[in-house]
Protein backbone atom coordinates (compact mmCIF):
# COMPACT_ATOMS: atom_id res chain seq x y z
CA UNK A 1 0.00 0.00 0.00
CA UNK A 2 1.24 3.46 -0.86
CA UNK A 3 2.57 5.39 2.10
CA UNK A 4 0.53 8.43 1.12
CA UNK A 5 -2.73 6.51 1.20
CA UNK A 6 -2.11 5.44 4.77
CA UNK A 7 -0.49 8.58 5.97
CA UNK A 8 -1.39 11.41 3.60
CA UNK A 9 0.70 14.52 3.18
CA UNK A 10 -1.21 17.29 4.98
CA UNK A 11 -2.27 20.23 2.81
CA UNK A 12 -1.66 22.61 5.72
CA UNK A 13 2.05 22.74 6.56
CA UNK A 14 1.20 23.71 10.13
CA UNK A 15 0.09 20.10 10.51
CA UNK A 16 3.76 19.10 10.32
CA UNK A 17 4.56 21.00 13.50
CA UNK A 18 2.78 21.46 16.77
CA UNK A 19 4.00 24.34 18.89
CA UNK A 20 1.61 23.55 21.77
CA UNK A 21 2.44 19.86 22.05
CA UNK A 22 6.02 20.48 20.95
CA UNK A 23 6.70 18.10 18.09
CA UNK A 24 7.80 18.11 14.44
CA UNK A 25 6.89 15.56 11.75
CA UNK A 26 10.00 13.74 10.52
CA UNK A 27 8.91 13.85 6.88
CA UNK A 28 9.96 17.49 6.51
CA UNK A 29 13.56 16.26 6.71
CA UNK A 30 13.19 13.60 4.02
CA UNK A 31 10.43 13.92 1.42
CA UNK A 32 11.20 15.16 -2.08
CA UNK A 33 7.71 16.67 -2.47
CA UNK A 34 8.16 18.82 0.60
CA UNK A 35 11.63 19.84 -0.53
CA UNK A 36 10.34 20.99 -3.92
CA UNK A 37 7.76 23.10 -2.13
CA UNK A 38 10.55 24.61 0.02
CA UNK A 39 12.43 25.65 -3.11
CA UNK A 40 9.32 27.37 -4.48
CA UNK A 41 7.74 28.82 -1.37
CA UNK A 42 10.82 29.61 0.69
CA UNK A 43 13.97 29.89 -1.40
CA UNK A 44 12.35 31.58 -4.39
CA UNK A 45 10.83 34.21 -2.07
CA UNK A 46 13.24 34.80 0.83
CA UNK A 47 16.05 37.29 1.31
CA UNK A 48 19.21 35.20 1.18
CA UNK A 49 22.87 35.86 1.90
CA UNK A 50 25.05 36.55 -1.13
CA UNK A 51 28.25 38.04 0.29
CA UNK A 52 29.62 40.66 2.63
CA UNK A 53 30.77 43.98 1.18
CA UNK A 54 34.35 43.19 2.20
CA UNK A 55 34.37 40.08 -0.04
CA UNK A 56 33.64 42.05 -3.22
CA UNK A 57 35.01 45.54 -2.48
CA UNK A 58 35.96 46.62 -6.03
CA UNK A 59 34.08 47.07 -9.31
CA UNK A 60 34.11 43.76 -11.19
CA UNK A 61 34.56 41.65 -8.03
CA UNK A 62 32.17 38.73 -7.96
CA UNK A 63 31.19 35.59 -6.07
CA UNK A 64 28.98 32.73 -7.14
CA UNK A 65 26.56 31.05 -4.78
CA UNK A 66 23.10 29.47 -4.69
CA UNK A 67 19.63 30.66 -3.77
CA UNK A 68 17.86 27.39 -3.24
CA UNK A 69 19.25 25.33 -6.10
CA UNK A 70 19.43 28.34 -8.41
CA UNK A 71 23.03 29.27 -9.09
CA UNK A 72 23.61 33.03 -8.89
CA UNK A 73 26.39 35.52 -9.44
CA UNK A 74 26.83 38.43 -7.06
CA UNK A 75 28.84 41.09 -8.80
CA UNK A 76 29.84 44.69 -8.12
CA UNK A 77 29.22 46.63 -11.31
CA UNK A 78 31.35 49.46 -12.66
CA UNK A 79 29.33 52.00 -10.65
CA UNK A 80 29.99 50.12 -7.41
CA UNK A 81 26.46 48.76 -7.14
CA UNK A 82 26.04 45.06 -6.26
CA UNK A 83 23.91 43.13 -8.74
CA UNK A 84 22.72 39.53 -8.35
CA UNK A 85 21.56 37.44 -11.29
CA UNK A 86 20.98 33.85 -12.30
CA UNK A 87 24.13 32.04 -13.40
CA UNK A 88 22.52 30.59 -16.51
CA UNK A 89 22.69 31.75 -20.10
CA UNK A 90 19.25 32.62 -21.54
CA UNK A 91 20.29 31.06 -24.87
CA UNK A 92 20.76 27.36 -24.02
CA UNK A 93 21.08 27.52 -20.26
CA UNK A 94 24.75 26.78 -19.56
CA UNK A 95 26.49 28.48 -16.65
CA UNK A 96 28.08 31.78 -17.61
CA UNK A 97 30.52 31.70 -14.68
CA UNK A 98 32.45 28.67 -13.44
CA UNK A 99 34.59 30.34 -10.77
CA UNK A 100 33.81 30.65 -7.05
CA UNK A 101 35.05 34.22 -7.01
CA UNK A 102 37.23 36.67 -8.91
CA UNK A 103 37.11 39.89 -10.85
CA UNK A 104 35.54 40.09 -14.30
CA UNK A 105 34.26 42.77 -16.65
CA UNK A 106 32.03 40.24 -18.34
CA UNK A 107 30.74 36.69 -18.05
CA UNK A 108 30.87 34.85 -21.35
CA UNK A 109 29.04 31.61 -22.00
CA UNK A 110 31.40 28.87 -23.22
CA UNK A 111 28.79 27.39 -25.54
CA UNK A 112 28.01 30.13 -28.12
CA UNK A 113 29.88 33.13 -26.74
CA UNK A 114 27.01 35.18 -25.35
CA UNK A 115 28.72 37.81 -23.17
CA UNK A 116 27.09 39.53 -20.19
CA UNK A 117 28.32 42.59 -18.32
CA UNK A 118 28.86 42.60 -14.57
CA UNK A 119 25.46 44.30 -14.44
CA UNK A 120 23.89 41.21 -16.06
CA UNK A 121 23.09 42.87 -19.39
CA UNK A 122 23.71 41.04 -22.67
CA UNK A 123 26.65 42.94 -24.16
CA UNK A 124 27.36 40.94 -27.26
CA UNK A 125 27.26 37.59 -29.03
CA UNK A 126 30.04 35.82 -30.89
CA UNK A 127 29.40 36.38 -34.64
CA UNK A 128 26.62 38.74 -33.68
CA UNK A 129 25.89 39.78 -37.28
CA UNK A 130 24.12 36.43 -37.77
CA UNK A 131 21.52 37.54 -35.21
CA UNK A 132 20.75 40.84 -36.91
CA UNK A 133 17.00 41.34 -36.89
CA UNK A 134 16.43 38.27 -34.72
CA UNK A 135 17.15 39.52 -31.20
CA UNK A 136 16.65 42.57 -29.05
CA UNK A 137 19.63 42.25 -26.71
CA UNK A 138 18.01 44.46 -24.08
CA UNK A 139 15.41 41.70 -23.53
CA UNK A 140 17.93 38.91 -23.04
CA UNK A 141 20.05 39.83 -20.04
CA UNK A 142 20.53 37.51 -17.06
CA UNK A 143 17.51 37.40 -14.76
CA UNK A 144 18.18 39.81 -11.93
CA UNK A 145 17.21 39.67 -8.26
CA UNK A 146 16.42 42.49 -5.85
CA UNK A 147 19.47 43.34 -3.78
CA UNK A 148 19.59 44.94 -0.36
CA UNK A 149 22.27 45.52 2.22
CA UNK A 150 22.13 45.53 6.02
CA UNK A 151 25.31 46.92 7.59
CA UNK A 152 27.55 45.21 5.04
CA UNK A 153 25.65 41.93 4.58
CA UNK A 154 24.36 41.70 1.02
CA UNK A 155 21.04 39.90 0.54
CA UNK A 156 19.10 39.09 -2.61
CA UNK A 157 15.52 38.08 -3.35
CA UNK A 158 13.91 37.09 -6.68
CA UNK A 159 10.38 37.84 -5.45
CA UNK A 160 9.25 41.33 -6.46
CA UNK A 161 6.33 41.08 -4.00
CA UNK A 162 8.42 40.18 -0.94
CA UNK A 163 8.61 42.74 1.88
CA UNK A 164 11.76 44.88 1.91
CA UNK A 165 14.80 43.62 3.80
CA UNK A 166 14.19 45.84 6.83
CA UNK A 167 10.67 44.46 7.23
CA UNK A 168 11.94 40.91 6.61
CA UNK A 169 14.51 41.29 9.39
CA UNK A 170 12.06 43.16 11.64
CA UNK A 171 13.12 43.33 15.26
CA UNK A 172 15.93 40.88 14.54
CA UNK A 173 17.94 43.97 13.58
CA UNK A 174 18.21 44.64 17.32
CA UNK A 175 20.04 41.32 17.63
CA UNK A 176 21.98 41.54 14.39
CA UNK A 177 23.53 44.85 15.43
CA UNK A 178 25.47 42.95 18.09
CA UNK A 179 27.22 41.02 15.33
CA UNK A 180 27.57 43.74 12.70
CA UNK A 181 27.76 46.95 14.65
CA UNK A 182 29.32 46.31 18.06
CA UNK A 183 32.19 48.66 17.24
CA UNK A 184 32.80 51.55 14.88
CA UNK A 185 33.84 50.23 11.47
CA UNK A 186 31.63 47.16 11.67
CA UNK A 187 32.87 43.77 10.56
CA UNK A 188 34.70 42.19 7.69
CA UNK A 189 34.99 38.69 6.28
CA UNK A 190 38.50 37.20 6.17
CA UNK A 191 39.49 35.82 2.75
CA UNK A 192 38.73 32.26 1.75
CA UNK A 193 35.76 29.93 2.07
CA UNK A 194 35.57 26.39 3.40
CA UNK A 195 32.96 24.47 1.46
CA UNK A 196 31.80 20.97 2.36
CA UNK A 197 28.96 18.55 1.75
CA UNK A 198 26.93 17.08 4.57
CA UNK A 199 24.40 14.34 3.80
CA UNK A 200 21.76 15.98 5.93
CA UNK A 201 18.65 18.09 5.52
CA UNK A 202 19.55 21.79 5.47
CA UNK A 203 17.15 22.63 8.31
CA UNK A 204 19.16 20.59 10.83
CA UNK A 205 22.07 23.01 10.48
CA UNK A 206 19.83 26.04 10.92
CA UNK A 207 17.91 24.71 13.91
CA UNK A 208 21.11 23.69 15.62
CA UNK A 209 22.40 27.26 15.52
CA UNK A 210 19.08 28.98 16.10
CA UNK A 211 18.49 27.51 19.49
CA UNK A 212 20.13 24.21 20.35
CA UNK A 213 22.53 25.15 23.12
CA UNK A 214 21.65 21.95 24.95
CA UNK A 215 23.59 19.73 22.56
CA UNK A 216 26.81 21.64 23.18
CA UNK A 217 27.28 20.37 26.72
CA UNK A 218 26.85 16.72 25.79
CA UNK A 219 27.81 16.39 22.16
CA UNK A 220 30.71 18.87 22.24
CA UNK A 221 32.16 17.85 25.58
CA UNK A 222 35.27 16.48 23.88
CA UNK A 223 35.69 19.67 21.84
CA UNK A 224 35.15 21.89 24.86
CA UNK A 225 37.72 19.95 26.89
CA UNK A 226 40.22 20.14 24.04
CA UNK A 227 39.75 23.88 23.59
CA UNK A 228 39.47 24.91 27.24
CA UNK A 229 42.28 22.97 28.87
CA UNK A 230 40.24 19.99 30.02
CA UNK A 231 37.20 21.93 31.23
CA UNK A 232 33.67 21.04 30.20
CA UNK A 233 31.03 23.65 29.43
CA UNK A 234 29.62 25.27 32.57
CA UNK A 235 26.38 23.74 33.92
CA UNK A 236 23.13 24.73 32.18
CA UNK A 237 21.90 28.03 33.64
CA UNK A 238 18.39 29.18 32.76
CA UNK A 239 18.52 32.33 34.90
CA UNK A 240 19.73 35.27 32.86
CA UNK A 241 19.64 33.33 29.61
CA UNK A 242 17.08 33.47 26.82
CA UNK A 243 15.75 32.45 23.46
CA UNK A 244 14.80 35.42 21.29
CA UNK A 245 13.35 35.37 17.79
CA UNK A 246 11.64 37.54 15.23
CA UNK A 247 10.23 36.51 11.83
CA UNK A 248 11.84 33.09 12.15
CA UNK A 249 15.32 34.50 12.82
CA UNK A 250 16.65 33.54 16.24
CA UNK A 251 19.40 34.05 18.80
CA UNK A 252 19.87 32.00 21.96
CA UNK A 253 22.11 33.57 24.55
CA UNK A 254 23.36 34.02 28.07
CA UNK A 255 24.30 37.40 29.47
CA UNK A 256 27.77 36.76 30.88
CA UNK A 257 29.75 38.24 27.94
CA UNK A 258 32.65 35.83 27.55
CA UNK A 259 31.82 32.12 27.29
CA UNK A 260 31.60 31.70 23.52
CA UNK A 261 34.80 33.58 22.85
CA UNK A 262 36.57 31.33 25.36
CA UNK A 263 35.92 28.32 23.11
CA UNK A 264 38.29 29.86 20.54
CA UNK A 265 41.12 29.03 22.92
CA UNK A 266 42.66 32.45 22.23
CA UNK A 267 42.79 34.54 25.43
CA UNK A 268 43.89 37.70 23.62
CA UNK A 269 40.63 37.74 21.67
CA UNK A 270 38.72 37.90 24.98
CA UNK A 271 41.01 40.73 26.09
CA UNK A 272 40.26 42.59 22.88
CA UNK A 273 36.51 42.39 23.34
CA UNK A 274 36.83 43.37 27.00
CA UNK A 275 38.82 46.43 25.92
CA UNK A 276 36.01 47.61 23.65
CA UNK A 277 33.21 46.55 26.04
CA UNK A 278 32.74 50.06 27.59
CA UNK A 279 32.26 51.57 24.14
CA UNK A 280 30.00 48.68 23.15
CA UNK A 281 27.86 49.54 26.16
CA UNK A 282 27.54 53.13 24.97
CA UNK A 283 26.84 51.96 21.46
CA UNK A 284 24.35 49.13 22.06
CA UNK A 285 23.27 49.60 25.67
CA UNK A 286 23.91 47.55 28.80
CA UNK A 287 21.83 44.51 27.82
CA UNK A 288 23.36 43.93 24.40
CA UNK A 289 26.87 44.55 25.73
CA UNK A 290 26.23 41.72 28.22
CA UNK A 291 24.83 39.40 25.56
CA UNK A 292 27.61 39.76 23.01
CA UNK A 293 30.25 37.11 23.53
CA UNK A 294 28.23 35.02 25.95
CA UNK A 295 27.43 31.39 25.25
CA UNK A 296 25.23 31.94 22.24
CA UNK A 297 24.34 30.87 18.73
CA UNK A 298 22.15 32.40 16.08
CA UNK A 299 20.52 31.81 12.72
CA UNK A 300 18.58 33.83 10.20
CA UNK A 301 15.71 32.44 8.21
CA UNK A 302 16.06 30.55 5.99
CA UNK A 303 19.68 29.37 5.99
CA UNK A 304 22.29 31.65 7.60
CA UNK A 305 24.00 30.89 10.91
CA UNK A 306 26.74 32.38 13.05
CA UNK A 307 28.39 32.34 16.44
CA UNK A 308 28.70 35.94 17.60
CA UNK A 309 32.11 36.65 19.14
CA UNK A 310 33.56 33.30 18.16
CA UNK A 311 33.51 34.47 14.55
CA UNK A 312 32.17 31.64 12.41
CA UNK A 313 29.56 32.63 9.82
CA UNK A 314 27.97 30.11 7.48
CA UNK A 315 25.19 29.25 5.07
CA UNK A 316 23.53 25.86 4.61
CA UNK A 317 22.80 25.55 0.90
CA UNK A 318 20.19 22.88 0.09
CA UNK A 319 21.30 20.15 -2.33
CA UNK A 320 18.18 18.05 -2.25
CA UNK A 321 16.23 16.99 0.85
CA UNK A 322 19.06 14.83 2.17
CA UNK A 323 22.18 16.81 1.36
CA UNK A 324 23.52 20.30 1.87
CA UNK A 325 26.57 22.32 1.07
CA UNK A 326 28.01 24.12 4.03
CA UNK A 327 29.99 27.31 3.34
CA UNK A 328 31.96 28.78 6.19
CA UNK A 329 33.77 32.08 6.69
CA UNK A 330 35.49 33.85 9.55
CA UNK A 331 34.20 37.28 10.51
CA UNK A 332 36.10 39.82 12.61
CA UNK A 333 35.69 43.40 13.70
CA UNK A 334 37.27 45.57 11.04
CA UNK A 335 39.14 47.66 13.58
CA UNK A 336 40.78 44.69 15.29
CA UNK A 337 44.57 44.62 15.09
CA UNK A 338 45.71 42.16 12.40
CA UNK A 339 47.26 39.72 14.85
CA UNK A 340 43.97 39.47 16.77
CA UNK A 341 42.09 38.89 13.50
CA UNK A 342 44.45 36.01 12.79
CA UNK A 343 43.85 34.54 16.25
CA UNK A 344 40.13 34.53 15.51
CA UNK A 345 40.87 32.99 12.12
CA UNK A 346 42.95 30.21 13.65
CA UNK A 347 40.39 29.67 16.39
CA UNK A 348 37.44 29.28 14.02
CA UNK A 349 39.37 26.86 11.80
CA UNK A 350 40.41 24.84 14.84
CA UNK A 351 36.82 24.59 16.09
CA UNK A 352 34.26 25.10 13.29
CA UNK A 353 35.58 23.73 10.01
CA UNK A 354 35.28 20.14 8.69
CA UNK A 355 38.31 19.19 10.78
CA UNK A 356 37.27 21.37 13.72
CA UNK A 357 37.21 20.05 17.25
CA UNK A 358 33.50 20.91 17.56
CA UNK A 359 32.19 20.77 14.01
CA UNK A 360 33.29 17.17 13.44
CA UNK A 361 30.68 16.00 15.92
CA UNK A 362 27.83 18.06 14.43
CA UNK A 363 27.89 16.67 10.89
CA UNK A 364 27.68 13.14 12.25
CA UNK A 365 24.49 13.98 14.17
CA UNK A 366 22.73 15.72 11.31
CA UNK A 367 23.46 12.91 8.87
CA UNK A 368 22.06 10.45 11.38
CA UNK A 369 19.02 12.69 12.02
CA UNK A 370 18.32 12.72 8.29
CA UNK A 371 19.27 9.28 7.00
CA UNK A 372 17.38 7.22 9.59
CA UNK A 373 14.18 8.54 8.01
CA UNK A 374 14.77 6.20 5.09
CA UNK A 375 12.89 3.75 7.26
CA UNK A 376 9.15 3.82 6.54
CA UNK A 377 8.17 3.24 10.16
CA UNK A 378 10.89 5.53 11.45
CA UNK A 379 9.62 8.31 9.20
CA UNK A 380 6.09 7.99 10.57
CA UNK A 381 7.24 9.16 13.99
CA UNK A 382 7.36 12.61 15.50
CA UNK A 383 10.36 14.36 16.98
CA UNK A 384 10.16 15.98 20.43
CA UNK A 385 10.52 19.78 20.47
CA UNK A 386 8.72 20.43 23.72
CA UNK A 387 11.51 21.69 25.98
CA UNK A 388 10.55 25.04 27.52
CA UNK A 389 7.07 25.12 26.01
CA UNK A 390 5.71 27.25 28.87
CA UNK A 391 8.73 29.52 29.24
CA UNK A 392 7.54 32.47 27.14
CA UNK A 393 7.96 35.86 28.81
CA UNK A 394 7.64 39.53 27.99
CA UNK A 395 10.91 41.31 28.48
CA UNK A 396 11.15 45.08 28.72
CA UNK A 397 14.43 45.26 26.81
CA UNK A 398 14.62 42.14 24.64
CA UNK A 399 12.36 42.39 21.58
CA UNK A 400 10.65 39.67 19.56
CA UNK A 401 9.34 36.36 20.88
CA UNK A 402 11.29 35.81 24.10
CA UNK A 403 11.58 32.70 26.22
CA UNK A 404 13.31 32.40 29.57
CA UNK A 405 16.26 30.00 29.51
CA UNK A 406 18.62 29.30 26.66
CA UNK A 407 18.15 25.54 27.01
CA UNK A 408 14.91 25.55 25.11
CA UNK A 409 13.21 24.47 21.88
CA UNK A 410 11.45 27.83 21.48
CA UNK A 411 13.57 29.31 18.69
CA UNK A 412 13.54 26.05 16.79
CA UNK A 413 9.73 25.98 16.88
CA UNK A 414 9.58 29.66 15.90
CA UNK A 415 11.75 28.78 12.90
CA UNK A 416 9.46 25.88 11.91
CA UNK A 417 6.40 28.06 12.43
CA UNK A 418 7.84 30.63 10.02
CA UNK A 419 8.69 27.75 7.68
CA UNK A 420 5.05 26.56 7.74
CA UNK A 421 3.75 30.14 7.38
CA UNK A 422 5.71 30.58 4.15
CA UNK A 423 5.06 27.05 2.86
CA UNK A 424 1.32 27.69 3.18
CA UNK A 425 1.14 31.21 1.85
CA UNK A 426 0.40 31.89 -1.80
CA UNK A 427 0.97 35.56 -1.30
CA UNK A 428 2.55 37.76 1.31
CA UNK A 429 -0.75 38.99 2.77
CA UNK A 430 -1.33 35.41 3.93
CA UNK A 431 1.88 35.38 6.01
CA UNK A 432 1.03 36.07 9.66
CA UNK A 433 3.01 38.55 11.75
CA UNK A 434 3.90 36.45 14.81
CA UNK A 435 5.26 39.29 16.93
CA UNK A 436 4.43 42.96 17.01
CA UNK A 437 7.67 44.72 16.02
CA UNK A 438 8.95 47.30 18.50
CA UNK A 439 11.31 48.88 16.02
CA UNK A 440 9.17 49.16 12.86
CA UNK A 441 10.48 52.12 10.88
CA UNK A 442 13.03 52.86 13.60
CA UNK A 443 16.76 52.21 13.78
CA UNK A 444 17.86 49.59 16.30
CA UNK A 445 21.02 51.43 17.22
Amino acid sequence: MDMRTRNPFPADYHDYINTDEGWVDRRIFWEEEIYQQELEKIFARSWQFIAHDSQIPNPGDFVTTYMGEDGVIGSRDKNGQVRVFLNSCPHRGNKVCFADSGNAKRFTCNYHGWAFGNDGSLLGIHNEHIYEGYINKADWGLREARVSNYKGLIFANFDSEAPDLETWLGDYRWYLDMLLDNEEGGIEFLPGTIKSYVNANWKFGVENFIGDSLHAMWNHDSGAKAMMGGQSFPPAEQEGSYHGSANGHGWEFATDSVADIAILGQPEVIEYYESIRPKMRERLGEMRAKIFGSLASAAMFPNISFLPGLGTFRVWLPRGPRKMELRVWTIVNKNMPDHIKQMVNKGTMLTFSPGGTLEMDDGENWEGNTQTNKGTLTRQGKLHYGCGSTSRIDHPEIPGIVHQGQYNDANQLAFYQRWADLMNADDWDDVPQRNEPRFAGKPTR
Partner: protein, 180 residues
Amino acid sequence: MSATAQTITPNLGKPSLELINDVQQFLYREARLQDAQAYRDWLDMLTEDIHYWMPAREQRYRANPMEPDITHAAYYNDNYANLETRVSRTETGTCWSEDPATRSAHVVTNIEVELSDNPDEYRVYSLVAVYRNMNEDEEHTLYGHREDILRCVDGELKLAKRKITIDQNIFLSKSLNVYL
Protein backbone atom coordinates in the same frame (compact mmCIF):
# COMPACT_ATOMS: atom_id res chain seq x y z
CA MET B 1 51.97 33.44 12.82
CA SER B 2 53.17 30.00 13.70
CA ALA B 3 55.07 29.53 10.47
CA THR B 4 58.43 29.47 12.12
CA ALA B 5 59.93 26.77 9.93
CA GLN B 6 61.54 28.93 7.28
CA THR B 7 61.48 28.17 3.60
CA ILE B 8 64.70 26.62 2.47
CA THR B 9 66.97 27.24 -0.46
CA PRO B 10 67.32 24.17 -2.66
CA ASN B 11 70.74 22.71 -3.21
CA LEU B 12 71.29 21.02 -6.55
CA GLY B 13 73.33 18.23 -5.00
CA LYS B 14 71.98 14.72 -5.29
CA PRO B 15 70.51 13.16 -2.15
CA SER B 16 72.14 9.90 -1.17
CA LEU B 17 70.21 6.64 -1.49
CA GLU B 18 70.58 6.29 2.26
CA LEU B 19 68.85 9.64 2.83
CA ILE B 20 66.08 8.78 0.38
CA ASN B 21 65.60 5.50 2.19
CA ASP B 22 65.48 7.23 5.58
CA VAL B 23 62.89 9.72 4.31
CA GLN B 24 60.73 6.97 2.84
CA GLN B 25 60.87 4.99 6.06
CA PHE B 26 59.94 8.14 8.00
CA LEU B 27 56.87 8.77 5.84
CA TYR B 28 55.76 5.13 5.92
CA ARG B 29 56.09 5.04 9.68
CA GLU B 30 54.06 8.22 9.96
CA ALA B 31 51.34 6.67 7.77
CA ARG B 32 51.27 3.53 9.90
CA LEU B 33 50.93 5.55 13.11
CA GLN B 34 48.06 7.52 11.56
CA ASP B 35 46.22 4.36 10.58
CA ALA B 36 46.78 2.96 14.07
CA GLN B 37 45.56 6.29 15.52
CA ALA B 38 48.73 6.38 17.62
CA TYR B 39 48.56 10.16 17.64
CA ARG B 40 50.91 10.80 20.57
CA ASP B 41 53.59 8.77 18.81
CA TRP B 42 52.88 10.81 15.67
CA LEU B 43 53.30 14.07 17.60
CA ASP B 44 56.76 12.81 18.63
CA MET B 45 57.71 12.79 14.95
CA LEU B 46 57.12 16.55 14.67
CA THR B 47 59.45 19.40 15.60
CA GLU B 48 58.20 21.78 18.26
CA ASP B 49 58.11 24.59 15.67
CA ILE B 50 56.01 22.59 13.18
CA HIS B 51 53.70 24.44 10.82
CA TYR B 52 51.02 22.08 9.54
CA TRP B 53 48.94 23.76 6.88
CA MET B 54 46.13 22.68 4.58
CA PRO B 55 44.68 25.74 2.85
CA ALA B 56 41.07 25.98 1.63
CA ARG B 57 40.59 25.70 -2.12
CA GLU B 58 38.93 28.32 -4.25
CA GLN B 59 37.99 27.65 -7.86
CA ARG B 60 39.20 30.66 -9.87
CA TYR B 61 39.74 31.55 -13.50
CA ARG B 62 43.32 31.29 -14.74
CA ALA B 63 43.30 35.05 -15.38
CA ASN B 64 42.91 35.86 -11.69
CA PRO B 65 44.37 33.12 -9.55
CA MET B 66 44.39 33.40 -5.78
CA GLU B 67 47.54 31.99 -4.22
CA PRO B 68 47.16 30.16 -0.91
CA ASP B 69 48.01 32.46 1.98
CA ILE B 70 48.41 31.63 5.65
CA THR B 71 46.06 34.50 6.56
CA HIS B 72 43.21 32.94 4.56
CA ALA B 73 40.76 30.19 5.43
CA ALA B 74 42.34 26.77 6.00
CA TYR B 75 41.41 23.28 7.10
CA TYR B 76 44.58 23.25 9.15
CA ASN B 77 46.86 26.16 9.99
CA ASP B 78 48.38 24.63 13.05
CA ASN B 79 51.35 24.87 15.32
CA TYR B 80 52.36 22.07 17.67
CA ALA B 81 49.97 23.19 20.41
CA ASN B 82 47.05 23.28 17.96
CA LEU B 83 47.76 19.74 16.79
CA GLU B 84 48.04 18.59 20.37
CA THR B 85 44.65 20.22 21.06
CA ARG B 86 43.12 18.20 18.23
CA VAL B 87 44.70 15.00 19.51
CA SER B 88 43.54 15.68 23.07
CA ARG B 89 39.91 15.74 21.87
CA THR B 90 40.15 12.08 20.93
CA GLU B 91 41.50 11.23 24.41
CA THR B 92 38.66 12.75 26.46
CA GLY B 93 36.49 9.65 26.58
CA THR B 94 33.53 11.72 25.34
CA CYS B 95 34.48 11.92 21.66
CA TRP B 96 31.26 10.26 20.53
CA SER B 97 31.81 10.56 16.78
CA GLU B 98 35.03 8.51 17.03
CA ASP B 99 33.40 5.61 18.82
CA PRO B 100 33.12 3.23 16.97
CA ALA B 101 36.46 4.20 15.47
CA THR B 102 37.05 5.38 11.92
CA ARG B 103 39.12 3.03 9.73
CA SER B 104 41.75 4.50 7.44
CA ALA B 105 44.53 3.56 5.04
CA HIS B 106 47.23 6.12 4.29
CA VAL B 107 49.12 5.33 1.06
CA VAL B 108 52.24 7.42 0.50
CA THR B 109 53.85 7.61 -2.90
CA ASN B 110 55.67 9.90 -5.42
CA ILE B 111 58.37 10.71 -2.88
CA GLU B 112 61.06 13.16 -3.97
CA VAL B 113 63.89 14.36 -1.76
CA GLU B 114 65.80 17.61 -2.31
CA LEU B 115 68.82 18.82 -0.43
CA SER B 116 68.96 22.37 0.83
CA ASP B 117 71.63 24.85 1.88
CA ASN B 118 71.06 23.68 5.43
CA PRO B 119 72.70 20.23 5.69
CA ASP B 120 70.09 19.19 8.26
CA GLU B 121 66.95 20.16 6.32
CA TYR B 122 65.44 18.52 3.26
CA ARG B 123 62.47 19.39 1.12
CA VAL B 124 60.32 16.33 0.52
CA TYR B 125 57.46 16.08 -1.92
CA SER B 126 54.96 13.26 -1.66
CA LEU B 127 51.46 12.29 -2.59
CA VAL B 128 49.22 10.80 0.08
CA ALA B 129 46.01 8.95 -0.67
CA VAL B 130 43.79 8.39 2.33
CA TYR B 131 40.97 5.90 2.16
CA ARG B 132 38.52 6.36 4.98
CA ASN B 133 35.71 4.05 5.99
CA MET B 134 33.45 4.93 8.88
CA ASN B 135 30.12 4.15 10.48
CA GLU B 136 28.23 1.42 8.66
CA ASP B 137 29.42 1.88 5.10
CA GLU B 138 30.67 5.41 4.48
CA GLU B 139 33.63 5.82 2.15
CA HIS B 140 35.74 8.84 1.39
CA THR B 141 39.01 9.05 -0.50
CA LEU B 142 41.24 12.07 -0.22
CA TYR B 143 44.40 12.93 -2.10
CA GLY B 144 46.91 15.33 -0.62
CA HIS B 145 49.88 16.82 -2.46
CA ARG B 146 52.41 17.34 0.30
CA GLU B 147 55.37 19.63 0.44
CA ASP B 148 57.33 18.96 3.62
CA ILE B 149 60.47 20.14 5.28
CA LEU B 150 62.12 17.35 7.23
CA ARG B 151 64.82 18.26 9.71
CA CYS B 152 67.48 16.06 11.20
CA VAL B 153 67.43 16.61 14.98
CA ASP B 154 70.01 14.72 17.04
CA GLY B 155 70.39 12.20 14.26
CA GLU B 156 66.64 11.65 13.91
CA LEU B 157 64.32 12.92 11.18
CA LYS B 158 61.41 15.14 12.25
CA LEU B 159 58.67 16.87 10.31
CA ALA B 160 59.21 20.64 10.58
CA LYS B 161 56.75 21.92 8.01
CA ARG B 162 53.98 20.52 5.87
CA LYS B 163 51.77 22.12 3.27
CA ILE B 164 48.96 19.90 1.99
CA THR B 165 47.13 20.79 -1.20
CA ILE B 166 43.93 18.85 -1.74
CA ASP B 167 42.20 18.44 -5.08
CA GLN B 168 38.63 18.74 -3.81
CA ASN B 169 37.17 22.21 -4.29
CA ILE B 170 34.11 21.47 -2.18
CA PHE B 171 35.27 19.09 0.55
CA LEU B 172 33.05 16.13 -0.27
CA SER B 173 32.43 14.92 3.25
CA LYS B 174 31.06 16.09 6.59
CA SER B 175 34.30 15.77 8.48
CA LEU B 176 38.05 15.73 8.19
CA ASN B 177 38.94 13.35 10.99
CA VAL B 178 42.16 12.03 9.46
CA TYR B 179 45.48 13.84 9.07
CA LEU B 180 46.99 13.92 5.61
